[in-house]
Each structure stands twice: as structure tokens, then as C-alpha cells.
Amino acid sequence: MSNTSHSPATQSAPESGFGRFLRATEIDPRLLGMVGALVLIWVAFEAYSTFVLGRPSMLLGAAQADANGFLTPRNLWNLSVQTAYIGIMATGMVLVIITRNIDLSVGSIMGMVGMYMGLLQVDFLTPALGLGHPAIWVVTVIFGIVMGALIGALQGSMIAYLNIPSFIVTLGGLLVWRGAAFLVAGGKTIAPMDDTFALIGGGSFGALGRTGSWIFAAIAVVAVVWGVVRGRKARTLHGFQQRPVWAEWFMGGLICAIILGATAIVNSYIWPKGNIKKYYDQLGLPVPDGAEFGHGYAYPVLILIVVAIFMTVLMTRTRFGRYVFAIGGNPEAAALSGINTRTMTVKIFALMGGLAGIAAVIGAARQNSATNAMGNLDELYVIAAAVVGGTSLAGGVGTVYGAIIGALILTSLQTGMVLIGFGDGSYQRIVIGIALVLAVWLDIVYRKRLK
């Protein structure tokens, strides 16, 4: 891009080949660092489990049924499902943090919304409509998201119009909604959920399956190619400098390769025999020899992908997103430019609440029950994911893809430690805490270097 000046004082040292590569492809080096860290963590866990624990590794040719390392379809599939709900909330938290706010209540919102969804199903919808009615899950999901959004809007209004700092409002919310969640059913657990509803939480029946996943991948690849072509057209139209053609197609090709690779992995995670039998029993057919189903993308992961695309478009291509960044960069300038910062704050917190509602749907579906402890302390992971992903607590910067990679990193650490049997919950907490501080420190050092 044409941002070099020509005075001798600012002439930089000759660029290395890698530096030129980065500049041509316009890859954010921080993104590269995060992906590198993620790959490192994965490889480290796999190495530990293969060489130190002596478990069979699929990379070294073991069969899927025997392997129990990190880099197996089963583990990666589970990883994707567990990352999903944190990632979904982290995308909303990015917007909150960009505007120099914080939301400590998302875990408690999850818990309360989950309890009310359970109550709605068991006490109202099922008696009214009958067991297994197709409308039950639809109404429950809409109810959950709307309830989350309303709670968020309430908190946002208090922050915007009563001028109470967001830290305090959401800290109060953390306590209030968690207490309220307990009161919904007097501490009891509400179970089970509607059958169709429970599918949203993942599992063998809660996934797209092989064909569905390949169709999804095909659509994604087409979208990437279309995006590259359109990007070049827009730049030509206005006479801007183009990225070199090879860089465009390299990036496009890389993203397509990742999409196809991920699809292949989730498709190769095969159903347990028990579920295959259940499936054929439902159809009233005997189980054929050699029957094998691939899981494909789990529904929570699909929801995460849809949410991520929506939030990315919102942040980068709409006025709403532009105003979020403006408020974070200079709230006074935003107000003087005619931006209504107060309604923006309400909307941002409402959006965060709605995303917490979606997370509650996934959580309750996955547990197949509503518990008042759901989401307990999850706000800390959500904030950590956003921050590890490059969102600065000072406000003004942040990305959706960063937050999702941050969520992936933290979940990988967590699940990896469980997989290799590293200590119990307390050791894991220590490691995650250290990782968080380390990641933020590296980010700060990197930003200083930029200046």
C-alpha cells in the first residue's frame, strides 16, 4: 500500500523476504502469531501424549479407534464443540471491550436464561403443545435470545443513561442473575429438554453429517473465491493499488485449504457403534455390515460460524461497527460527529446479552438440562478469549477472528490438559491464568515495537 514516505529519516532497513511476503499478502502479523501459538499448543500436546505417555498417534498410523492423542478427529471435533459457546460470546465481548466497557455478567445471564428456557419448556410449552411438538424448540430458542438481549439492554441502559460504570453494573448483574437463576426452580435441575432442542448441543445426532458438511464446505469455498474477485474489482474501480495476484490467490487458496481440511477432519470422526444402532432402530431397519457415519460439523460449531460471519460483517462493513470503533477510539469525537453514543451502548450490551442467550441455548441443549450453575465464571474465559485474541482493554481495537482464535487457544489448553491427565481443575486454572497474562504481555510488547 502507498504508505511509505520518502524522507531519509524514515527509510526502513531492507525488508526480509518474510517481511515482504507479509506486506504483499496483508496478513496481520499478530494473527500469524496467534495461529502459530495454537499450532504449537496442539503439537506439544500430541507430542506429549505420543512420546511421554506412549499413546498411539494417528499421525504415526494408528487407527481411529485406538488413538487417544490430541490430534485425532474425535478430540478436534470435541474441541470445536467446546470452543463454540465461548467463541460466540467472545465475539460480542470484543465490541463491549472496544468501547471501553466490560461485561462481567454473561455467565450469569447464561445461567438465568437457561433456567427460564427449561421452565418454559417443561411448565408451559410441553403441556400446551404436547411432547415433541416441532414448535417447542423454535419458541424456546427465540425466547432465550430475546430474554438475553433484554437483560443486556437493561444493563446497557443503566450504563448509558444513569452513568454507572459498566464494571459495576455488570458485576451487580453477575450476582443478581446468578441468584435469580437459583430462585427459578429453587435450586433444582430441570431436565430433560425437548428432543429436537437437545440436538442443538451437538453429539452424533446434532451434527451435519458427511454430505451436509461437504456441501457447506463447497459453499464456503465459492464464497471465498467470490470475495477475492470482488475485492480486486473494487480496488480497480477506484484505481487503488492491488495486492499482487499471487498474494490474492495464495490467501484465497490457503483459506480454502483450511476449510476443506477442517471438513475432512470433522467428517472422519465416525459415530460410535451404539449411536449407529440407535439410528437404525429408529428406522426399524437392521444395521448393515460396515455401516459408518461421519459426524460432520456439529450444530454448535455451525452456529459459531454463522455468528462469526455476522459479527465480522457488522464490525467491518456497517455503520454500527464503524461507530463502535469510533466510540472506542475517542468517545468525544464520536459524540461531536453526531453519533448517539448512548443508544449505541444500549445496543452493544443488548447484542452481548443476545449472544449470551445463544450460548445458553447451546449449553442447555448440550447438558440436556437447565442447571442454575450453567455458565458459572464463564465470563472470565470469554473476556480472556477476547483479550488473548488481540482486543485491548484500553479500547479501540479488536477483531472477531482474533477472539475466536483466542477461545480456541484457551479451550485447547484446557482440554489438552484434561486429555493428558495434567493435574485437576486447580492446575488447569493456574496454567490458563499464566497463559492469559503471557498472551497480553506479548501483545503489549508487540504493539510497542510497532511504534
Binding site: N3, V313, R322, A326, G329
Partner: protein, 245 residues
Amino acid sequence: MVELRDMSISFGGIKAVDHVTVDLYPGEVVGLLGHNGAGKSTLIKCLSGAYKADAGQILINGAEVEINNPRDARAQNIETIYQTLALADNLNAASNLFLGRELVGPGGFLDDSKMEAETRKIMARLNPNFRKFNVPVSALSGGQRQSVAIARAVYFNAKILIMDEPTAALGPQETQMVAELIQELKAQGLGIFLIEHDIHNVMKLCDRASVMKNGQLVGTVDVNQVTDEDILSMIILGKKPAKAA
């Protein structure tokens, strides 16, 4: 063209602006002077929509208008260059230029390419050496940031321009550029309210000058008919001038 009639605004118990009347004609520069805290920024923020006056009227071309927020001011073709420039540091030049007034393409999505193209066009006029279109404005020099703020005001066909100490943080060359720009805008028929501390700049750039002290108007003079000392004594002592304009 613009008349701020009998404006008053108080914060807490303090009368920041106390029954002040100033006016502005097309093609002239009116300086607004006074020591710190005299109320000049506050008065002008009533015109730019940042504040809402407690009492008084704003008349544009003889007709009274309501200015309750910055959008109303912009609707009246009033553009403001604030002392702090009011730029969002994390956004680039184009985003700042169009802040609050973004260009959208089909579907309501931001048309970043078009906004950048328009920004390049206007920056070419104002600051031909400007190249850094894709970095956040925090990475720009003071003069470059100033030119972005000025470009923002000029791009949207302002008829009335408010400049709050535009040369305070600038070097001599950039100050000269701003002076030349003011002359050019004057020639185009804009009316400019200029808040200035430097008497030298006032004598050079302004046609008339209104002096405020402690929230009240000391007087308005024709710059050609008074000396530096007259204006200084108006500012410091609040001494009314012999001839009013």
C-alpha cells in the same frame, strides 16, 4: 448570515456565557478572543451543537433555527474544527472524514473504497504530500491530523466554519497553509468564526473581532480600525473600545 443573539448558558452556578450577541457575514472572518475561560469555546459550541444554550436565539440568514445536537448544526451547513480536532485515533483518515456521515453502497454496507477515493481527492487539494491513507490517524503528525480535520469541514460544503485555535499546535509553515486556506474559503463566500489567542494572527486574518471576558461580551471591533494594544486591553482589562463595529 449567522447571528447568535443574547446567548446564555450556565454550568452549575457559573454563567459561562452571559447574554452575548455576535454575528457573522458571508465572506468575512470574525475572531473570537478572550483569555482562558472567557467563554469563547462555550459560546461557539452552542452554534456547533455540542452544547444547548439555556437562553438566546440562533438566526441563520435571518430565520431562527434550533440547534440541539451536532447533526442539526451540520444540517445548517455549519462545520466545526475543534481545538482537540475530534478525530478517532484508531480510525484512518477516510473513516474520520466521513464519521457520522458514511457513504453506503447497495444493501446499506459501508462503501470504504468510495470513501477512500473521495478522501484522496480532497486531501490532494489541501495537502498534496499526504500519503498515509490506511494508517490510524494516531500515526500522523500534528499538521497532517489538522489537515484531516480541515478536510472534513471543507468537504461537506460548509457555509459557516468554526475554527477553534487551528494553529495552536502547528509550526510556521503549516500555520501559513492554514492562513492561505482561510483566505481561499473567504473568497468562496464562507463565514468563519475564528477562536484565536495570537493577536498577530488575529490582525492578519480577521476582519472583525469580538472579545469576551468572564462570559460577557466586551465589544466587537473592526480589526482595521484598532491597534494591537486596543484589543489587548479589551481582553485583559475588559475596557470597551472607543469605536464599536
